[in-house]
């Protein structure tokens, strides 16, 4: 494991907030681990524990087989010796230094490099991140994207062994976010250190994550490779928190392993999906289906057939892909404008989900 961190940290209640307990076990071998969750879930606290700016009450932090923290033996490596590159919210470039001085500060603080090597590394990094022309400027004279490049360059000066990024794209518009993801690609050419990135942006998580830890109220609700977490939410709460699923209550009516088939009753409609191992007939649970895979059957007068539902339309609003239709039972479907033109005005719409896209979670 490149990162194996068990962290317990209790924060006493303060004036405005209740007591908080962080209790997580972060294990990841991936290049990029994303901590995804709402604000107040403890994402930044986890990052601070890894970087050495918060001391866990209990636990153990192992990064690249190096012990950073060990509760029982009271070992605690100071931040200076952990060699973590940390990108803070708002970047924390030193405001009284120019970009070059920021990098030089990092180079001088790191040990074991000769003066010539340091100089060469600074020049290289300024070049890589297209900062050569801006090197003489102070952070206040830089745009958001430029600051970000400078912060990444500064972080890489000392060849960090662990990269920690705290909501690096907060406050950037879509185009600048894309540029940032490209920059991270560039960063990979210079550093192979594992990265832990904190975000509450689902799309960012999809874009970058190898390993995902979903966080809520100081706990991981689910961890694993990205595809797995998004395709197989551990329970209905996780599926809800992801916000990409239509979720409906369902009961298992029949199971047939021979034909790899199960029958579910969804809103009194019979659905056929693949066989559900480890389930029993009569099990209650939920079917989850991606909103993006929930299709609207536009022209059809036939009653709802298998894997279909006839649902009342509640509202429709324009979206990036066309129209976003809100149906009863909080079902959401996205259709193109052409499709919408055909079914505009109908009170009820028939939706259909391919059986392979239906995922059943137990209660």
């Amino acid at each position: 494991m490149r990162i194996d961190a068990r962290l317990v940290k209790r924060l006493p209640p303060t004036g405005g907030s209740e007591a908080f307990e962080l209790n997580v076990h972060l294990k990841s071998d991936a290049d990029v681990t994303v901590l995804l969750g709402p604000s107040g879930a403890g994402k930044t606290l986890t990052l601070n524990c890894l970087g050495g700016f918060a001391t866990p009450d209990e636990g153990r932090i192992l990064v690249n087989d190096e012990l950073y923290f060990d509760g029982p033996t009271k070992l605690r490596l100071p931040p200076q010796q952990r060699r973590c590159g940390y990108i803070f919210q708002d970047h924390a470039l030193f405001p009284h230094m120019t970009v070059r001085e920021n990098l030089r500060f990092a180079a001088n603080a790191g040990r074991g490099n000769s003066g010539l090597n340091r100089h060469r590394r600074i020049v290289e990094l300024l070049e890589t991140f297209e900062l050569a022309d801006l090197a003489g400027r102070k952070p206040a004279q830089l745009s958001g994207g430029q600051k970000q490049r400078a912060a990444l360059a500064r972080m890489l000066v000392n060849e960090p062994k662990l990269l920690l990024l705290d909501e690096p794209t907060r406050g950037l518009d879509g185009r600048l976010k894309q540029t940032f993801y490209e920059l991270l690609g560039k960063l990979r050419e210079r550093s192979t250190a594992p990265m832990v990135l904190v975000t509450h942006d689902l799309e960012e998580c999809m874009e970058l994550a190898g390993h995902v830890c979903l966080m809520e109220a100081g706990r991981f609700t689910q961890c694993g490779p990205r595809e797995r977490v998004f395709a197989r939410p551990a329970n209905v709460e996780v599926a809800r928190s992801l916000g990409i699923y239509n979720i409906l209550p369902a009961v298992i009516e029949a199971l047939d392993p021979g034909r790899d088939c199960s029958r579910l009753s969804v809103l009194d409609q019979l659905w056929e999906v693949h066989y559900l191992p480890g389930r029993l007939i009569g099990d209650q649970g939920y079917v989850c289906m991606r909103q993006s895979e929930t299709k609207v059957v536009v022209v059809s007068d036939a009653p709802a057939a298998a894997n279909q539902l006839l649902l009342k339309v509640e509202s429709a609003s324009p979206s990036l892909r066309g129209m976003r239709i809100q149906l009863e039972h909080a079902v959401i479907a996205e259709i193109s404008e052409a499709e919408y033109a055909l079914c505009r005005g109908s009170e009820r719409l028939k939706v259909e989900v391919p059986s392979a896209a239906v995922y059943f979670v137990g209660k």
């Binding site: 050495g52 931040p79 940390y86 919210q89 030193f94 500060f105 603080a109 500064r154």
Partner: protein, 224 residues
């Protein structure tokens, strides 16, 4: 002919006292703002004490602590070959005591306003705490601290009570400006008193203006 010695002495005393305040005071303010240690509240109260005690009480304590028969006083005498009390150096100690508490209390607040993220960033880049203090914390707090230094200088210039207790009123040796004014009024020399009062008021006003100038917010500069 006016004897300008008291003005010259006061400036020298205030300058030295301010130097001590800037070094010792900044260090103490940093410890109070960045470290937690047992008895921190007690230390804080001890530092505030000189602000509320009458100068005579402070002077009395000083006489006891650094007087000729105290261990500290004897150490000083052994090191410098002369006693501390009733010399102009004692006036420096008095001025220090007069201005340090305010500097430390306000300096602590200034140092606390420096965003910890800058210090964390420096630490994560491998910079020691000492280096971070010199290269990051101090430059970012510099405006506030130098403004406070200017205030300290003005305050050091004006100490009377403690100075007269520990340094006395020896003309040509320990008679600072504020003591000279007291002396002039006592002996009915109204003209001298008026001139010295105007001088010290002008100096104080200039220093306050400088403090305000130093602490004004930096002009906003942004490329947008």
């Amino acid at each position: 002919m006016i004897d300008w010695f008291p003005l010259w002495l006061s400036l020298r005393v205030a300058a030295l006292a301010t130097l001590f305040v800037l070094t010792v005071g900044t260090l103490v303010a940093y410890l109070l703002s960045h470290k937690s240690f047992p008895g921190k509240n007690l230390v804080d109260s001890l530092i505030t004490l000189p602000l509320v005690l009458p100068p005579t009480v402070l002077g009395y304590y000083l006489l006891v602590i650094v007087g000729r028969h105290s261990p500290l006083g004897q150490l000083y005498e052994g090191l410098f070959g002369q006693p501390l009390v009733f010399t102009w150096q004692a006036a420096v100690v008095a001025a220090f005591l007069h201005s340090a508490p305010i500097y430390i209390k306000a300096g602590r607040a200034v140092l606390e306003t420096v965003d910890t993220r800058y210090e964390w960033a420096a630490h994560s880049l491998g910079a020691s705490e000492w280096r971070t203090f010199w290269r990051v914390t101090l430059p970012l707090a510099w405006r506030g601290l130098s403004s406070l230094g200017s205030l300290s200088f003005a305050r050091s210039l004006g100490d009377f009570g403690v100075t007269i207790m520990v340094a006395g009123n020896i003309p040509g040796q320990t008679q600072t400006l504020s003591v000279a004014i007291f002396d002039a009024v006592e002996s009915g020399n109204g003209r001298l008193a008026r001139i010295l009062v105007i001088v010290i008021s002008a100096a104080a006003l200039a220093l306050l203006w400088a403090a305000g100038y130093l602490s004004r917010p930096a002009r906003a500069q942004s490329a947008g």
